[in-house]
């Protein structure tokens, strides 16, 4: 009895208390992994909510598009410069041609037009002077008029050829880039303007011709030649001025287009950034969803449900994978009540394995997706 009374120490209680805590810890460790698999089926349900464009692609797309935009910007700038140069060159060439043609044409036309004014003034003098030479010079004038007419026709043909060439170039330019539309319009406008000018010139020329015919004065030729020379110089100066103005306009338009393009690019950039941000947010979850989708598709392809499978059968199969995606176990966790149906589900999983895609996932996700549930219903796998 004395011994029993003395046994009032703390050795046994300490051992018991520590034992209780160790048991409690073991219970928390052991119980949790077993209670986990059920919630994992929720991730399978999530797999059905995947959008068409995966976030992974979107992220890549956004990055690519940004790179593409940068490239495009550079290219556009280069092209714009090249275009400007080409346009300048073309303009120069065109103008060279036009100068040859239009200079003659417009020179004559304008010369005639302006000469008309001068002529009006000078006519009185001219008539007096020319009256003597009129008879001889009229014949020459007629001959030269015919020559001028022939020349004009040639010029018209050349103009048409030039226009056809221009159109061809414009079409080629259109094919190359839509962004050149503005440029083309500009060119077209210029062409239209030129045409309009040419038409106006032609009209005037015709009027002039009528006038000329009416006047039929021989003295005009000399004066016309002189005046044409003067006015050609004036035209050249004017043209130079016009060219400069056109150049300025073109530069301004180019600057405006560049500004617009820049603002559009900025907008596109910000949109791309936004997309990328959203995409990154979903990327991790969708990457895993992708894996589940891959598994679903692979299993669906190899699933041959029995012919007698009715509408409301549901079988849940728990799939456990090894670290490299090989199938460790496919067990029916919730039977449909139809053994053939259950068997077909497990066989489908077995046939679809191994799921090598598992190795492409992050290590953290890999651990998460080495154990999941698949729900089979007649019609589809969930």
């Amino acid at each position: 009895m004395a011994k029993r009374m003395r046994r009032n120490g703390y050795g046994l209680p300490v051992i018991l208390a520590i034992g209780i805590h160790v048991i409690a810890l073991l219970l928390t460790i052991l119980r949790l992994p077993e209670s986990e698999p059920e919630p994992s089926s929720s991730s399978v349900v999530q797999a059905t909510l995947v959008s068409d464009v995966t976030a992974t692609d979107q992220a890549q797309y956004a990055q690519e598009s940004r790179a593409r935009n940068a490239q495009r910007q550079a290219e556009e700038e280069a092209q714009r410069q090249a275009e400007a140069d080409a346009a300048a060159a073309q303009a120069a060439a065109d103008e060279a041609q036009a100068e040859q043609q239009a200079a003659d044409r417009q020179a004559q036309a304008d010369a005639e037009r302006q000469a008309a004014a001068e002529q009006a003034q000078a006519e009185a003098e001219r008539r007096q002077q020319a009256a003597e030479q009129a008879a001889a010079e009229r014949q020459q004038a007629e001959a030269q008029r015919q020559e001028a007419e022939a020349e004009r026709q040639q010029q018209v043909q050349a103009r048409e050829q030039a226009e056809a060439e221009k159109q061809r170039q414009e079409e080629a330019a259109e094919k190359r880039r839509e962004e050149e539309a503005a440029e083309q319009q500009r060119q077209e406008e210029e062409a239209a303007e030129q045409q309009r000018q040419e038409e106006a010139a032609e009209q005037q020329r015709q009027e002039e011709a009528a006038e000329k015919r009416r006047e039929e004065e021989a003295a005009e030729q000399q004066r016309q030649e002189e005046a044409a020379e003067q006015q050609r110089q004036e035209e050249a100066a004017e043209k130079r001025r016009e060219e400069e103005a056109a150049e300025k306009r073109r530069q301004e338009e180019a600057a405006r287009a560049a500004a617009e393009a820049a603002s559009q690019d900025a907008l596109a950039d910000s949109i791309a950034n936004e997309q990328e941000r959203i995409a990154n947010a979903q990327q991790s979850s969708q990457a895993s969803n992708n894996f589940i989708n891959l598994v679903k598709r692979a299993v669906e392809d190899r699933w041959h449900p029995p012919a007698n499978a009715a509408g409301d059968l549901v079988t849940q199969v728990r799939v456990r994978l090894g670290p490299s995606g090989e199938l460790l176990a496919a067990t029916v966790t919730r039977s449909s009540g139809n053994p053939a149906f259950d068997r077909s589900a497990t066989q489908a999983v077995e046939a679809a394995s191994p799921f090598r895609e598992l190795r492409q996932l992050d290590p953290g996700l890999q651990r998460k997706f080495r154990d999941f549930n698949l729900k089979f219903t007649p019609g589809d796998v969930q």
Partner: protein, 228 residues
């Protein structure tokens, strides 16, 4: 399969303050369980001894024999301690005074001292249980609040807050509260139970002291009558 959410993993990944809180709570829990076991054993033993002593006392044995029967080196506990201190005082006073009141006063004082010692002995460490029971939920709550504060601080740096980014932090923080409750609940239950057992034992001792006192009183009255 979901290792990152298992409780040991959560504990290992918690922040330092939360881990300290958890260690403190674990120590409190272990200490409270040590006290629970030690007190349970001690009180059940005390009750057995009380029962055995009661039987012997009321078996009609002579009080002198009962007093001498117990070996001297044995430290008496419970009702026996009350009896022995009272009877020792009685035996010492009897030759010295003729006044029965003086003798009974002395016996009562000695018994009161013995009772007070027994009360102390029964209630030792129960205050620790009470402290653990009342304080550990608050300590655990502190750990949780601290952990959630940390989680929100780190969350403010994250670009987007999905449930999966918040969940581990909160689970981690809540482990502290769980541990606080884990320590507090047994402490509360066993504190109530053990203090009830102790107070009942103490009531038994007091009853015995009164009964013993009345026996002595009766004896003294008889002796006074004989002397008269």
């Amino acid at each position: 399969m979901n290792d990152s959410m298992s409780i040991p993993h959560l504990i290992m990944n918690a922040s330092l303050v939360v881990q300290l809180v958890m260690i403190l709570l674990l120590a409190a829990s272990i200490a409270s369980w040590v006290v629970i076991f030690q007190r349970s054993f001690a009180l059940s033993k005390a009750r057995k001894e009380q029962k055995a002593f009661d039987e012997r006392f009321w078996s009609g044995i002579d009080l002198n024999e009962l007093y001498k029967d117990v070996p001297e080196n044995h430290e008496a506990q419970g009702a026996e301690h009350v009896f022995r201190s009272g009877f020792r005082e009685f035996n010492r006073l009897m030759p010295k005074t003729r006044s029965s009141e003086a003798v009974l006063d002395g016996v009562q004082r000695a018994q009161r001292v013995a009772l007070s010692r027994e009360e102390d002995r029964l209630n030792v460490h129960l205050t620790l249980l009470a402290t653990v029971a009342s304080a550990s939920p608050y300590i655990g709550l502190f750990g949780t609040v601290w952990g959630i504060m940390g989680s929100f601080q780190s969350l403010s740096m994250a670009q987007q807050a999905t449930l999966s980014t918040v969940a581990p932090w909160i689970a981690e923080a809540l482990v502290a509260t769980a541990m606080g409750l884990f320590a507090a609940i047994p402490a509360v239950i066993f504190y109530n139970r053990l203090s009830a057992v102790a107070s009942r034992l103490l009531g038994d001792y007091e009853d015995f002291a009164e009964e013993f006192h009345s026996i002595l009183h009766r004896n003294l009255q008889g002796r006074g009558n004989q002397a008269a």
